[in-house]
């Protein structure tokens, strides 16, 4: 990424104009959790304002409040100097606030023009006037959108531009972009940032949500840092290093995941050899998602995989769990070839699984906690005897998990949906650990979890590792990766492109390898990082 090429600070020119958005004392409580409290943010007009924070810090909730999708319990929202109350996104759009979601909301089988006018037919009609308007917006901000192309023929970056255009078409003057770079490759990120600078130059305001520090520093004029639901400070990108920003984001009181004394043995637990998987994507093009993946995890070893999300980590996990069938290659657990074994067999053979998306893969949200304790281990004790369930034993054991793993709940008959994310995660960790796995697959094990629970989950992983557990750790939290892992690999576009020693590598060096800028063995202090300061 070449952020240094672009001058910063155009914002100073418009410093006298009123603020586009002000948030004062915003507090939002969810059952059992405070998602946001005492948030204060001032976004000046004509700037790119970045909102940074870890996953689960409360960024998305805050933006949903600003976009009218959630109502704050306390606090005021001021738009263009006027106090407003939003009841739904329609109110926000009427005030010139638009949102581009992380997951695109486009109809594939319609053209760009049709997608843009859909739901706003009253603005400029659906014919020539609309097309002219789209052209006008596209040219004004250099979006390069072609109105008559089918959306299904567009790539990710183009779809994102259509989303941005959709918002502008509806008259937005302030754009909220939720993690817009998560799905983009580096070149596309650069192009997006060029677009954002165009928008800014035309006097529009952009609120940019991210947890990627390098990007934030390269594009933002101002930065607000959110930690554990509240604003902890702001930073001037001109005078801030990624390290300082990281410290603000993570906080100095964060328990360290460091785990130095090595417990790695030379007994292989999981062997992956030449794993290959390709998929046909939406555009009908064959895409290689796993390319010649080879690694071994030994007993007592934590292997961490770093990478920007969407580079094949999820598919790797699903192939090891048996939810995806690889095209080629071998997966060996202990001495057994499990390449094509069913998921249940793998679980029974001792693979524990902490899924990335606990709502989709880890829980039955509307079932009570004790049934969730059975999930994934229905064939094992204490959950069943023979073909029959043993609900009373399962209930007793759920009580134990709740106690030992400090799951904050009034009881085990409540549904999983009524627990906060952190407590759901503790239940999952407790469940998986209770079956004494030989191999634990932990995908983002502390995502959306509060700091206390985070330390606890780290402790549990460390303890099990001491007793010979092999762990495959996938995380977006680089500190977690470096702190917990014995070995580090970097995944980029379906391949393991680099490896590193967690004892010496820094998050910055790892971060640049994740963008594909470096490969091979990463040595601390060498210049493979491509850093700009």
């Amino acid at each position: 990424m070449p952020p240094a090429l672009f001058p910063r600070g155009e914002c100073a020119i418009k410093a006298s104009s009123p603020n586009a958005v002000e948030l004062h004392g915003i507090t939002k409580r969810f059952p059992g959790v405070v998602a946001n409290h005492d948030i204060d943010i001032i976004v000046r007009r004509g700037t790119v304002h970045a909102l940074v924070g870890e996953n689960g810090a409360g960024k998305s909730t805050l933006m949903k409040i600003l976009y009218g999708m959630q109502k704050p319990d306390e606090g005021t929202i001021i738009v263009d100097g006027e106090k407003v109350t939003f009841h739904d996104p329609g109110d926000a759009i009427a005030r010139g606030i638009g949102m581009v979601h992380q997951h695109f909301m486009l109809a594939d089988n319609l053209t760009v023009l049709e997608n843009v006018v859909l739901g706003s037919e009253k603005l400029y009609g659906i014919g020539g006037k609309a097309r002219a308007k789209i052209k006008e917006i596209s040219d004004a901000y250099g979006l390069g959108v072609r109105p008559d192309v089918l959306v299904e023929d567009l790539g990710v970056a183009d779809r994102q531009r259509v989303e941005i255009l959709k918002v502008l078409y509806r008259g937005a003057r302030t754009l909220i972009l939720d993690e817009p770079t998560a799905v983009l490759v580096p070149q596309e990120v650069d192009a997006l940032f060029d677009n954002l600078r165009e928008l800014k130059a035309e006097g529009l305001t952009v609120i940019f949500i991210s947890h990627k520090l390098g990007e934030v520093l390269s594009v933002a004029d101002e930065i607000t840092v959110i930690r554990r639901g509240t604003t902890v400070g702001s930073a001037d990108p001109k005078h801030t290093t990624p390290k300082q920003l990281a410290e603000l984001m993570v906080g100095s009181e964060l328990p360290s995941p460091e785990t130095r004394e090595s417990t790695v043995t030379d007994v292989p637990m999981l062997g992956i050899e030449g794993l290959h998987l390709s998929e046909i994507d939406l555009e009908g093009i064959e895409r290689i998602v796993l390319d010649q993946i080879t690694f071994t995890i030994h007993k007592g070893e934590v292997l961490g995989i770093a990478g920007v999300e969407g580079n094949g980590q999820a598919e790797l996990v699903e192939a090891i769990m048996g939810m995806l069938d690889p095209d080629a290659g071998r997966i060996v657990l202990g001495d057994d070839d499990i390449t094509h074994a069913p998921t249940r067999k793998r679980r029974e053979d001792g693979i524990g699984y902490i899924p990335e998306d606990r709502h989709r893969h880890g829980l039955l949200l509307e079932a009570p906690l004790w049934e969730n304790r059975i999930l994934g281990h229905v064939t094992e004790r204490p959950n069943s005897k023979g073909a029959l369930l043993d609900p009373s034993a399962a209930r007793r054991d759920t009580e134990r998990i709740v106690r030992e793993y400090d799951v904050r709940t009034p009881g085990i008959e409540v549904t999983a949906a009524s627990l906060s994310g952190g407590n759901q995660q503790k239940l999952i960790v407790g469940r998986e650990m209770s079956h004494l796995p030989k191999l634990l697959i932990a995908a983002h094990p502390t995502r959306g979890v509060d700091v206390g629970a985070q330390a606890q989950i780290w402790d549990q992983i460390r303890e099990a590792r001491r007793e010979g557990l092999a762990v495959l750790l996938i995380s977006a939290d680089l500190d977690e990766l470096i702190g917990l892992s014995d070995t580090l690999r970097v995944m980029y576009r379906g391949r393991l492109v680099a490896d590193a020693n967690p004892a010496t590598i820094t998050p910055e060096e790892l971060g640049s390898a994740m963008t594909g800028a470096a490969s091979g063995h990463l040595e601390h202090g060498d210049d493979t990082g491509g850093e700009d300061r």
Binding site: G32, M321, V378, T379, G411, S418, V451
Partner: protein
């Protein structure tokens, strides 16, 4: 905790009660709008419904509807909408009647044979939809609707003299060969005037118990419910969703095959053009109203049979019997809405309660929970 449980039970009952009350109100309004006396009509229905012969009729009808409700409920618990229970039921009953009429064995073999054939045929007919869904991605709703139509044609083709049909003595009715006496199931005689309660009601009760036990007390049932609640979570937990789709379609279809058994074994003893049609669709209503719960479905089946029985009497008293159809329709409509409303309210309410209780706990411990 106790409080939450009690509330959950209350909410579970609230929805169907609400739906029934709403439907009575709407029906009353319809009656008033057509210039009729609503309470008089309800009174006629009630008075007629509690007569002894009505009760026997209601029990018999409800037996059939109950099995239909269970067949649909098995699909619902899996998040599968087996709309083809009707076709599976007719296919099962038809072939069971044909086989039963063609052989004569002692009772203890004849009756199980007939039942087995019905289950096999019903299961296979539903299994087609299951296989299409897992291999070709065809929605089970579409596939089973089509299979219903095909079932009608298949039966229409085979139920002709010279094929599997048999012309009765008066040369007016076509049906399958009547079952020999060994194929008749026992009845409970309720007196000359009241008629018989089908012996199959015993089997229906056992089916209800089995349904509850398999779903709630076995590993298989847990897997099935897990798929119904979250396919992705079930898959990750080790359930083979595809196999589960086929298995549950087979079971649902086998259960559907049993729907015709009370009529066949206890009453008609042959499959003819008189054989009741549309029972599978009643099963959908009954399963919805009974919330896929074995006791709930039983109550819903009884209510349905009651409404059907009393509608005939309304005609004698110069009311339109279609009013019962309106009532049934409104019940189904409002039950679907009421469940969703109550479900959402319940989730929200519980989240709040849990939040409150935790906050209270935290206060007691004088510590901050995040």
């Amino acid at each position: 905790m106790k409080k939450i449980d009690k509330e959950r039970l209350l909410l579970a009952i609230a929805a169907p009660v609400l739906a029934i009350v709403v439907s009575f109100v709407v029906t009353a309004l319809v009656l008033v709008a057509t210039g009729k006396q609503p309470f008089d009509a309800f009174n006629i229905m009630f008075q007629y419904g509690i007569k002894s012969d009505s009760q026997v009729y209601i029990l018999d009808k409800a037996t059939t509807y109950y099995i239909a409700g269970l067949a649909v409920a098995i699909g619902f618990r899996m998040n599968l909408f087996n709309i083809g229970v009707d076709g599976q039921y007719r296919m099962g009953a038809f072939f069971a009647a044909a086989v039963g009429g063609a052989v004569t064995l002692p009772s203890f073999l004849q009756i199980p044979l007939i039942i087995l054939v019905a289950m096999l045929v019903g299961g296979m007919w539903a299994g087609i939809a299951g296989v299409l869904k897992t291999t070709r991605g065809v929605s089970e709703v579409i596939a089973t609707i089509m299979l219903n139509a095909i079932a009608t044609s298949v039966i229409g083709y085979l139920l002709q003299p010279g094929r599997l049909g048999h012309l009765d003595a008066a040369q007016t009715q076509v049906s399958t060969e009547p079952l020999p006496a060994s194929g008749h199931l026992f009845n409970f005689n309720m007196g000359e005037l009241n008629g018989d309660v089908y012996g199959f009601i015993v089997i229906a009760v056992l089916l209800g118990v089995a349904y509850w036990f398999v779903l709630n007390r076995t590993r298989f049932g847990f897997d099935l419910r897990a798929v119904g609640q979250s396919e992705s979570a079930a898959e990750a937990s080790g359930v083979s969703v595809k196999r589960m789709v086929i298995t549950s379609m087979l079971i649902s279809g086998a259960m559907a095959g049993l729907i015709g058994m009370p009529t066949l074994l206890n009453d008609a003893h042959q499959f003819g053009t008189e054989f009741p049609a549309g029972v599978g669709f009643v099963g959908i209503s009954v399963a919805l109203l009974g919330r896929n719960n074995p006791v709930g479905v039983a109550l819903a089946a009884l209510l349905w049979a009651f409404l059907e029985r009393t509608s005939t009497q309304l005609e004698f008293e110069n009311y339109d019997k279609e009013i019962v159809g309106v009532m049934q329709g409104v019940i189904v409509l409002s039950v679907v809405i009421a469940y969703e409303v109550v479900r959402r309210y319940g989730i929200k309410r519980q989240q709040q309660k849990v939040g409150e209780e935790l906050a209270a706990q935290a206060k007691n411990k004088q510590e901050v929970t995040a």
